[in-house]
């Protein structure tokens, strides 16, 4: 079946602009995660959704970052007033949240802030 999809695959934006990144999880997966992969810094957790609620937002680096999930499916990560340090690959993952422990990752969105 279809895997996790993310759009856009690449995004170049000017400093100070807002961006929206989209994630479409595997159908039926109740849990959804956002991670950020920065050059030389590995992957860091941003936020976790179970259904439409976000019980863990502890990884969001600042109040410029927000995320929502509607209908228990698609999620949008929004970064307001982008800064150069926001440049990274943003990865989305999903899991069934019950008996499946592993997370399945999308291809990522490469964000470049100029």
């Amino acid at each position: 079946g279809a895997g996790v999809s993310q759009s856009p695959s690449n995004k170049v934006t000017e400093k100070g602009k807002d961006v929206e990144l989209r994630c479409d999880p595997i159908s039926g997966h109740t849990a959804l995660y956002w991670y950020r992969q920065s050059l030389g810094q590995g992957l860091e957790f941003l936020i976790y959704f179970q259904g439409n609620s976000a019980p863990d937002k502890s990884g969001l680096p600042s109040d410029r970052f927000s995320a929502e999930r509607t209908g228990g499916s698609v999620s949008t990560l929004t970064i307001q007033r982008t800064q150069q340090e926001d440049s990274a690959v943003y990865l989305c993952a999903s899991s069934s949240g019950t008996t499946s422990y592993e997370q399945y990752f999308g291809p990522g969105t490469r964000l470049t802030v100029t």
Partner: protein, 114 residues
Amino acid sequence: AQSVAQPEDQVNVAEGNPLTVKCTYSVSGNPYLFWYVQYPNRGLQFLLKYITGDNLVKGSYGFEAEFNKSQTSFHLKKPSALVSDSALYFCAVRPMDSSYKLIFGSGTRLLVRP
């Protein structure tokens, strides 16, 4: 603080030789452990996991990993490396809290030479 360490930035092996990619962790309780692989310009692919039971777990593409509780390690191994195994490998742990988030190591680049 909970953390995962991959002490080698890069591992070089000759094709046909055995390979080991090291991972140690520092988390409370009995975590779930994972290995993921990342090929260039692609998302992370799940390789294998340890949840409970036999300390030696087998995964995709002939990889296996050995869980050692006393040494808090989860090293990735393969008896005979292939050039196509060359990629970036990430170890991850899921702490026993409610968020299900993964904590990743910094990654190890595996280079298999012909």
